[in-house]
Structure formats: C-alpha cells, structure tokens
Amino acid sequence: MSILRIEDLRVHFPIKGGIFGRTVDHVKAVDGVSLEIEKGTTYGLVGESGSGKTTTGRAVVGLNHMTTGKVFFEDKQIMNFGKRKSGLHKDVQMIFQDPYSSLNGRKRVLDIIAEPLRNFERLSKAEERKRVQELLELVGLSPESILKYPHQFSGGQRQRIGIARAIALKPKLIIADEPVSALDVSVQAQVLNFLQDIQKELDLTLLFISHDLGVIRHMCERIGIMYKGRFVEEGTTDDIFHNPQHIYTKRLVAAIPDIDPKQRDASFDIRQEVEVEWNEAYNKYFDEHGLAYQLQPISDTHLVALPERG
C-alpha cells in the first residue's frame, strides 16, 4: 500500500503585470508531477535549483497552494492540509533546509520541540518536559539543554532539534527538504545516518528532497528526477544509477565525482561521451519549449520522459 500518492500536481505562480496588476503569465514551478511512495521507504526527489522539487514537497504540506492535482495520504485525499482538524499535521511532518531560520531564535529548545505537543496533546508540564527530554536523547542531544536557546547550538545540532520537533508527534511521513545541504560535509554523514536510524526505529516514510545525487543514492530506494517542473525519469536507485535512459539523468550521473583515482580517465571519457550526446540529441529528449515529455514506462519500475512513439 502506498502511503503517499501525488497525481498530476501543478503549482503555478502568477506573474503580475500591467497597470492594474493583472496576471499576465504563470511560472510553472511544478507542472504535472505524479509519484507514489511505499510505506517505510525513502523516496528521493532530485533536481537542480528551480526544478520544482522543494515546491512539490511544500505543496504536499500546504505551504504552497496547489493549482491542480490530487494528493492522497493513505488513500484518503488531502483536501485542506491547513485545517488542524484534518489531523494531517500529526501524520505528515517536514524538516527544513536551513537549520538557522527554521528555529525561532526567541524560543527555548523546550518550547520549540514542545510546540507540536502543545497543539495536539494535552500534557502536564512535567510530562511535556519528559517527552522533550526523551526526544532530545533520541536525536543525540543532551537532555539538559532544554532551557538553552537555538543560537547556543551548532548547525548540525540545530538540525537535530528540527528533527526532534518533526518526530515529536510520531508522524508516518516526513518530508525532508534538503536537510543536510546547509551543513558542513563532515556533519552531513552524521545527520544522514542518524536519520536512517530514526527511520528504522519509528518506521518512517521519507520524501527526501536533495540536489546531491550522492546523498540520494545513500538514502533512497526510489528516485524521481525533476527538470523545469517535470519528471524526466523515475525508477529504483539501481535503475537510475546503472541504467539511466534520459540524457539529463545521464549527465547528472556522469557528473558524480569518483573517489578512485584509477577511474579518473574512464569517467572523463564517459563525461565527454555524454556531453556529445547531450548536444546532438537534445531535441530528441525535450520538446520545443525545452521541457520534458510525458513519462513512459520502459520496465516495471522504470519510467522515462520520451516523446510518444509513432
């Protein structure tokens, strides 16, 4: 059973112009995205900046208005995420990219992590404190730090506070929007491994949004690649990394640096080849507006955006 299903999601932002500020055009940030996530798995959404991956995630939790499309959570359509009655806040949570702006600098750690608890559970002060301390311990921070303020922590620690806040209500799905991009590389692996631990412990499903293919490969079972608001390719990690079909995916995969120096020449050759193909076959893969075509299945798990044949 899929836990989250998105059908033909579109998020268009109006461009205002003219004397009366009428809408003259739209920026199609997300333009017809469909995907499905299985319970307990991690789905990776990849793309360059401006490809619409973050907007997709934000639209699911209601931070961006959906222009059209449907989102189903556990086979029930999400109509209005914003309403507290929907209870969706308990099941779907978000981890934000910037560990600095995502924590309110005027609040103590206790208040930050207890915010969801206060919204949905009626706990006594002592119970609340205990829960927050448990959560802090779970994310690897000292339970004594509940009375500290965010600026007293490092970026990685702040991101852990953000994660503790997101898992406080024991959600089923977490949308992680570039959760490690703002962190030092040395801290990235730490936070990622710890995310995986938590996922196992709480049986979480993750929608993992990132521009970093290396991170995605490390984390995800299934991957969707976005370009200019559309999917260009979708498949299992294996499909994407070992059998990329779309030229855009090929370019991305070829660009991953290889640590093994002996492979250097080989990977350089591959990059050259892909570059040549990109220049020659660009029109084959993109329509006249430079956008991707509809996804076509090429195997049970693997879909590629190719022009319809015939």
Binding site: G18, I19, G21
Partner: protein, 320 residues
Amino acid sequence: MWKFTIRRMLIVIPQIILLSVLVFVLAKMMPGDALTGQLDPDASQESIDNIREKLGWNDPWYQQYGNWVVDLSKGDLGQSFTYKMPVTELIGQRLKNTVWLSLFSVILIYVISVPLGIISGRYNDSILDHAITGYTYLGFATPLFIFALVMLWVFGYHFGWFPTSGSVAPGMEPGSLEYVMSRFKHLLLPSISLALIGVVGTVQYLRSEIIDTKQKDFITTARAKGASESRVYNRHILRNSLLPIAAFFGYEVVNLISGTIFVEMIYGYPGMGQLFLEVIQLRDYSVVTSLVLLYGIAAVVGTLLSDITLSIVDPRIRIK
C-alpha cells in the same frame, strides 16, 4: 516608468474621493449650518424650512454630496457666514500668503540643508560634521512652535530686527518697491523658523547618503582610475545623492503644512493656517471644510509629484 506613473496617478482618484467624502461627513456632523447667523433672527420657523427646502438640505445625503461636488468643481466653496462673503474670495488672499510662505521656506530649506549635508557627509567625523550632526539632533527634538516662539522673542522683540506680526506694514502702496520689501521682511522670520527646523531631515538624509556612497565600489574604482577628488564628488557622489533630494520637493511642501499653521499663528501672519484657527473657533464650517479640502488636495498632489519624480530618479522604487 509610464506604468508606475499611471498606476500612481490612478491611486489619487480614490484618495481624493475619500477625502471629499470625509470632509463632507465632517461638515454634516458639525453643529449648526450655513444658515446660522445669515438669517434674520426673527425669521419664522416656516420660512427657515422653506429656505432649507430650496437649498436642497432635505435631500438624501448622496444627492447633497453630489450637489456639493458639482459646486466644488465650479469653484464654488459656499459662503462664509462670519465674513459674509464667498469662501473662495476669503481664502484667495490668504492662499497667496501661505503659498509665498511655503515656497520661501522650501527654498530656504534647500539653500541651508544641501551645503550642510554635503559638508557633513564629505568631511564626516570632522568638528564641523559634529557641530552639524549635533544641530540636527537638537532640531529633531525641538517642536517647531517652541522654536518659533523663541525666535520671535529674540529677534522680533528683544532685538527688534523683524516685524512681529502681519504680512505687510500698514499704509503701503501695493506694487511699490517699499511694499515688496515690507512683505519680504514680514516673510523672513517665519520662514527662517520653519526652515531651520525643516532642514534636519534633509541634512541627515544627505549626510548618510553621501557617506554610504563614498564606500561603494564604483567610487573606489573612480579613484583608482585617477579621478580627482572634486571630480569624484561632483560627478559621482553628488549626482547620486542630490537627485532624490530634489525629488523630495513635494514631500517637503506636505511636511510644511502643519508647520505653517503654527508659524502663521505665532507670527500673526494672515495665511490659511491662521484663518483656519480663527474660523474653527467661530464655527464657520463652510470655511473650515474648504480649508481642509485644500490642504488635503495639496498633500495628495505633493506626495504624488514626489513619488513620480523619485521613481524617475531612482528606478528601484518602481519595483513593487
């Protein structure tokens, strides 16, 4: 640019309409009406009612408002019952006086503030700059009316250098040189008072603007290319900082409005502000509303002009 200008001008229409409605409502709220004091006290209630009917005061309010607006557009502001003359006539001379006062003050503001601002910005942290900054600091905290009182006390009464009230000495032949000189003398102290307090904002703005620009990369580049110091200032820094100041013209006029009311009262200068204070005490409401409308329109137009010139001078403003 045209887009901003037209859009900005369109905003003026609802502003003026709202203003006129407000003034109209205020006029209706005021006790008594223009008939008070105009009629023979012995007139019967019946004849009063007749006149009311004839003047259309029993019509629904929107019709009255419509009539009022039509009259306004014809330049008919009604009758002043205390002065027993049309409001337009009454305001005419006062308007001229106030316009002279404002104009003269704005010129003084520019004449004083631009050099002060430039000196303060160019030689920042010098003794001169500290003196100027100290002056603007004090000026910001000093209410205009106290300053004007002290000026009148010192230069009007104590030293007797300036006349202490009126707009011209009595018995002068209009048009003669003496007459003009006398008017000028009467104008001087009020407008100096207005200007000395009015400059502080502009001086501070100019100073910080110049200091800001001084540190920008394009100035360093100009210096690096060997441009002389005076060229750097005249061609690069001042051009950037002075244009907005020129565009502030409209705002300056708007800012002067409440100032002129105080100053005209203190110096007994027969302008619109003094008239306003006079007629509101006499409850001559047709004059009161006309004055509010005039000042309001002046504020709307002044802000409009400055907004538009500023958008031409500084394109960043247009983004919005």
